[in-house]
Symmetry: C2
């Protein structure tokens, strides 16, 4: 299970169809939230993600539309019976959440924030407001056996374990090294821009990502407004996706000014065809 | 137009069908909000009440489930263009909302808080947490002419105006006093308990109300829990409605523990038949 659920996809203010920003990531038994705008706890119920099992919440920056729902969610968890499990909160500059005994809070800063079973979550500084970060979910690279090759070399049973532990093993036909019978499965990667100016802050970290979730507050004709407000245009996001050679681009933080999204999608796909526009409730299995 | 719209009717935590507490009151051209729980701005859109035209917001007490949405709503108003109209905020003990140039804040205290065109809003202390108040919408009493009686006494045209101004008028058939040809139309009244212990704090003010909106967090078997948490049972609310001889009782702040509300309704109607259970989006025209 490696599932991304979009809980809220509007920018700045909600609409009847789009809630405030929040993204749930379920990886095996762990559940993470990226941003937690107003109404997130209800979206978690509505889209059956399960708010009681959240392990960690990351808030990309200190703007109210990205964090207000955190306090509603924490209050609900506080009232829950039995007592809620411990939850790790990663908060941006200027935001605190005191008074919740079950919450372990840290400040968001560049580098690894959270280490889960088989993955890590990293933060990358972006330009929007003080302390803004993008987030990276990086699955660990795993060593996989070429089963056929191993069998053809006479490996089986206990020897499998030995070669993993020692890195090599002696057989009748000679020494076999671990790398002779294994291959590296590169970990999957999901990136979330948070709110950010459309620059190259996320270019390196996005290379080859399975999914880039990028804000696209303005259409491409509004580049000067985007710069002024430190947001991205559709073109900024699509150009980044193309240059970083990601597998898929999902545009989010869609401004309520756009009731028809086909134009935004058209703009993006001219540059990067594997683009979709996120909507509340959208599920992407990675 | 005198319309009450229930925007959120859940107690403490939301459900997929019930949002956090908020009630909109539209009286002619004025729009008031009573409580503003998380998600209220979206409920205002969903139920087409129109968040841009709110004149005043009243928060009954300083518990997060009753006020969190205020900050989302104020942020949205702040971003709106043209600049939002001035809004009066009546906040309970311990709650502030600074930094909104278009908001005029006052503390809630016993007595008249707000004077609209043809009505007033009053606060009455209730027992729940520090600074908790119930709210009263009181329409002004109006003087109405008995048109037939006035005509039969020979009053018409300018004389109508004269009798209103002077309180009496001389005609061929003698002096006629204002009270001879008028009757008082008692103003309509809507009461909202906020969260409160089920006692008699609201009894006097509720007498003869057109609508009593009362919290009913617990069923009647849970009286001790209700007392411990300073909430009301269904029986508390229904008994108050009966003794105050109100026209209609709407139960709200329904706990998520009740998925089937028919039992709550049955309990209430045994005591006070003109009871309904509020739901999100319910409109009551007074």
């Amino acid at each position: 299970m490696f599932r991304v659920t979009f809980l809220g996809t509007s920018g700045s203010t909600p609409t009847t169809s789009r809630g405030m920003p929040s993204i749930a990531i379920k990886y095996e038994s762990e559940l993470l939230l990226w941003d937690c705008g107003e109404g997130t706890q209800r979206q978690l119920m509505k889209y059956k993600v399960g708010y009681g099992s959240i392990d960690a919440i990351f808030i990309t920056h200190n703007h109210l539309d990205h964090y207000l729902g955190l306090f509603g969610l924490l209050e609900t968890l506080k009232l829950s019976s039995p007592s809620p499990r411990t939850i790790s909160l990663f908060l941006p500059w200027g935001l605190d959440a005191d008074g919740y005994h079950f919450a372990k809070t840290s400040k968001i800063k560049e580098g690894e924030l959270y280490s889960g079973k088989g993955f890590g979550v990293f933060a990358v500084p972006v330009k929007h407001c003080r302390g803004s970060h993008g987030l990276v979910f990086q699955e660990e690279t795993k060593l996989k056996f070429h089963e056929e090759k191993a069998h053809s070399l006479g490996l089986s049973g206990k020897v499998f374990r030995e070669i993993q532990e020692k890195g090599k093993v002696k057989t009748k036909s000679g020494e076999i090294k671990l790398e002779d019978v294994t291959w590296k499965k590169t970990g999957r990667k999901v990136i979330y821009s948070g709110d950010c100016l459309g620059d190259d802050s996320l270019l390196e970290v996005s290379r080859g990502a399975d999914l880039l979730i990028h804000e696209a507050t303005f259409d491409s004709s509004m580049k000067s407004e985007a710069i002024e407000r430190m947001h991205s245009t559709v073109e900024d996001a699509a150009s980044l996706a193309k240059r970083a050679d990601v597998k898929k681009l999902l545009l989010t933080h869609i401004s309520p000014r756009y009731s028809d999204h086909s134009l935004l999608l058209e703009e993006a796909r001219k540059i990067f065809p594997a683009t979709e526009i996120a909507f509340d409730g959208l599920i992407i299995d990675i």
